[in-house]
Symmetry: C2
Subunit: 592 residues, 2 copies
């Protein structure tokens, strides 16, 4: 037997018991005549004591050989500690060891197994098995496991059936890039890994499953950033005979349940904001509403001619950074301006207007506008003494995006984005289509299966090109603290409307049939009205734990080159494999 | 609003209520002045009534246009039925319809949506969305969903953490053939899809996770049979600081819980049988113990010389088919012999000995052996009057396998293999290695990470070639009704022992390092003793529901050519994709 108890459960009431524990040596303190060793497992830490006066000499010598991360089994008696440790649940007792078995030795780890480790990212990814022993990493993954349990529990109670959809499916050129898998049995053909189970869950609705969910791996072969992984996990859901309202209520319910059970946080009711309002007031379709600082636009009436930059701008828009007038020296403003001018943001400049505590007004464009005009702006922004306006101008869409970055940066600097202050909302009424000026074609704003709003169906079927740009969809995103947690839509369930949509998106009849013929076919055999949504599960974990990187919630993440540093994958394959799959490499000269 | 109730929940107490229902038209009966329509959804069937005398003419005409599988929404009043239907839960009521909305029309389905359909396999796979509407298919998938819920519930309560392991991993030539995925970012290199998360779950144990589980998709690129799919699902588990006994008890507990909660079946305690006994008594490592008919061997003492076939045979072994003497005419015996001689089984012949009710003995080899000798056999087999011995002879291993097939066939013919009679057992003490005469090398009987029994470790590290053949492993299979439901082992956690095992399996040092270096490395940093097992989830579903094909428990199965008939995958990919992945086709001439 390896243990009678784990390392986290012994208490005062166990004093006097003979116990067996197994675990890892966290650290030892050798006082010469006495040795204390912390024994660690997933459940906690228990102190072992080796006493030269009580213990056999051989055992004491053996205890002396224990290094960090050795795996041992000990037998001994639970005794009361002389100096108790109130910081750990087992802090009142210790184990007087009578038997010691070294189950496995350990080399000295390349970094410390502590909450704050000295290991760099690469080292920790390579020795992931050691990093996984650290408490913060374990806690993240335990949280993820709990979140999955609670998600399933809630959705099951609500009548959702979990159905596994296939991983080996078909490549479709829409959306992101597919990972593909050569088929040995169907030579020259390829499976694709799913970017989402979208069409399958719709097929399940056509098949009468009514309420479906799945916590499922999805795959995108895209260039990677900190919050993107080639494989990621979704909570994928679909319902039949529902309106958008039904779906929002169901998944607001799920989210509130998860926050309550996993974090003991009561979320407020989720406000709803139209896409148009989100773009107008925050310059983003995923606004962080933990703080205000909404956009205020300056119009012709606010801008007497004189400052050429504003005079010629499509949009002049700003935010009011409350209480910041005294915080920003000219040098600080200059730094902030440079930050805005980095290529990632690309602002041309940044205008400030300070309303100083002494009543004076100071602005980078004071020579173009009178104090009266600036005061009028202040009123429009609701600025008080001590506040500072930050104003951008230029082409409308770009300027809003830039101001969104500035608003978020100022929110962070001003401490208004607390990780444990959760502010959810629904963004609704997304446009159906997005016009791409470069390629002169429409893209689906959500995906090609999204339904236009009922009142827009007629216009979609019969309208002209300009009409299409104005179509609104029953599409919605759940946003928490500026992060898009989930999104979905009511789907098209009518063959003609779906064909029209494929048409608008530039599919030929043949392409639509080849790629989605099964779905169009399914719509001819009694498809019910349906809709759904998908949560980014990795991201939900991160947001709930107030962290930024999804990587810390994935047991075996890949790096930015898509590599698993521990197992060293991907890797070359054997000639036999190439032969069986009837493929060969075709590397560019310099790499071949 | 699409519905106030579903189609399975209205009862007498709802009579008088105004309700809205949505669903599919199952069928209609038009009596001229009156029309009855069955409305179906996942939850049940509710009868709608359109009454010419009550209903508006327009509504009545519209109802007449409804075809099978039309999707409709109706509004109406719940009324008591005149002729009640006790066969369905809603059989006491019907809906007097006042509003009818046709939500979607349907073409006539290519097969009937009934419990017993007239659709063939191919048609049903192509129109999977229609097949999914049939009750037996839905029930199988609902059962699967429930089984997953209960599995997670049990394991979570037992302290297991569900951790997702990666799908994009590394190709290893051991075991079955890998599906591979070309990497765009690491040109010329490939990921592989996991055949199981084996090494990752071991790494999680090294990482201190203590108890891990996952319900997880696995992949094997093998030629397919009815009970094999290229992607399949496992309940994958691993535990630290455990002995084989701990694991058997834990997962026997899980299995008993699943049978109790999902089927209301109390399983008996699982008997344990050594691999040697299973092979000796049943000729199989997954014996069906719903019935006896154990193998009985005839030795030199039972076989006076005279029948050359037996005289020269390595093994003479048979079974007693109770009460079958009178059931098998010479012609029947001949047929059974032919069945055994098919190439799939390959027996050379089949000897019978009948102990007739009248006391006479009849045998195909009566002229070689006296009645006294045959009677002596009868005693050895425990045969009574009316019984029939069936005896095979030949090379030991082959003969046992053939007799296993015969035993199962006789069990089926005699009605001894009832689907709802569940007889589980553990088969234990598997050999560690299997010697392959053809390739002259060892294969791992379970997998390369399986530990020899403690008492065999010394022999493994220092023994000679013959010793290796006799090594036993802490490896075990769970078998129910002749089906291997799960299997696992205690793993090696010592680097030297693991290296020795790779060595025995024919890996060079370099190969072992390239493929499993991370695991060997992990064993140097305090790997705990650990072990686990994996259940075939699809198969568990099928066995519990008393069915043979796992395909009926998979929402979107592939056919024997690995094709998804509905979406028509796999399929060709675009030139751009080939270019980005730096691969090209290399088809044999005739297919290019």
């Amino acid at each position: 037997m390896y243990r009678t108890h784990n390392c986290g459960e012994l208490r005062m009431e166990n004093v006097g018991e003979e116990v067996v524990l197994s675990g890892w040596v966290q650290k030892s303190r050798d006082l010469g005549y006495m040795m204390y060793t912390d024994l660690r497992d997933r459940y906690g830490i228990t102190q072992l004591i080796f006493n030269e006066q009580v213990t056999e000499k051989e055992l004491f010598e053996s205890a002396r050989t224990l290094g960090r991360e050795y795996v041992v089994r000990v037998k001994g008696k639970v005794i009361e500690r002389q100096s108790k440790n109130p910081n750990i649940p087992t802090g009142n007792i210790e184990i007087e060891v009578t038997d010691l078995d070294i189950l496995n030795a350990s080399k000295v780890p390349p970094f410390t197994i502590e909450d704050d480790t000295d290991g760099g990212d690469d080292l920790r990814m390579k020795y992931r098995y050691l990093d996984l022993r650290r408490k913060p990493v374990q806690e993240n993954l335990f949280f993820r496991s709990q979140l999955a349990v609670e998600t399933r529990s809630y959705l099951s109670k609500e009548g959702f059936i979990e159905v596994e959809t296939p991983v080996l499916i078909k490549s479709t050129p829409e959306g992101a890039r597919d990972f593909v898998v050569p088929s040995r049995m169907n030579k020259g053909q390829f499976y694709a890994l799913p970017q989402s189970p979208q069409t399958f869950k719709q097929i399940l609705m056509v098949g009468g499953f009514d309420k479906y969910f799945q916590i499922v791996k999805c795959f995108r072969d895209e260039d990677l950033r900190a919050d993107r992984q080639p494989e990621f996990t979704q909570i994928d859901c679909e319902m039949s005979f529902v309106t958008q309202e039904d779906i929002l209520n169901t998944f607001e319910g799920l989210t509130r349940y998860l926050f309550k059970t996993c974090l003991d946080v009561e979320l407020p009711q989720f406000p709803r904001m139209t896409y148009d309002d989100a773009m107008r007031l925050y310059g983003s379709d995923k606004p962080d509403v933990r703080f205000g600082m909404q956009f205020v636009e300056l119009g012709k009436e606010d801008l007497p001619e004189g400052f050429p930059v504003f005079d010629s701008a499509e949009l002049v828009v700003g935010i009011n950074a409350e209480g910041q007038a005294g915080e920003y020296s000219n040098k600080d403003i200059k730094k902030l301006t440079s930050w805005m001018q980095r290529p990632q943001i690309g602002a041309k400049g940044l205008v400030y207007v300070k309303f100083n505590e002494d009543g004076s007004i100071k602005s980078s464009i004071g020579k173009f506008y009178s104090d009266e005009v600036l005061a009028q702006w202040g009123e429009k922004f609701g600025a008080k003494k001590g506040d500072m306006l930050l104003i951008l101008s230029g082409e409308e869409e770009k300027t809003r995006k830039q101001l969104n970055e500035l608003r978020l940066e100022m929110g962070s600097r001003m401490g208004l984005r607390k990780p444990d202050d959760y502010k959810p909302l629904w963004v609704v009424d997304f446009p159906l289509l997005e016009w791409d000026e470069d390629t002169e074609r429409f893209h689906a704003m959500h995906h090609p299966f999204t339904s236009p709003k009922k009142e827009d169906v007629e216009r979609m079927l019969n309208g002209d090109h300009e009409t299409m740009k104005a179509l609104r969809a029953d599409a919605y995103d759940m946003v928490i603290n500026g992060v898009e947690i989930g999104g979905g839509s009511i789907r098209i369930h009518d063959r003609d409307l779906q064909s029209k949509n494929f048409d608008l998106l530039g599919f030929t009849k043949e392409e639509a049939e080849a790629q989605f013929g099964f779905l169009l076919g399914a719509f001819e055999y009694g498809a019910p009205p349906h809709g759904g949504l998908a949560f980014g599960f990795d991201r939900l974990c991160a947001v709930m734990m107030g962290q930024n990187s999804i990587r810390d919630f994935i047991a075996f993440p890949k790096n930015n080159q898509g590599r698993d540093m521990m197992i060293d994958a991907p890797s070359p394959i054997h000639d036999e494999q190439f032969d069986e799959l009837c493929i060969q490499l075709n590397l560019p000269e310099e790499e071949a």
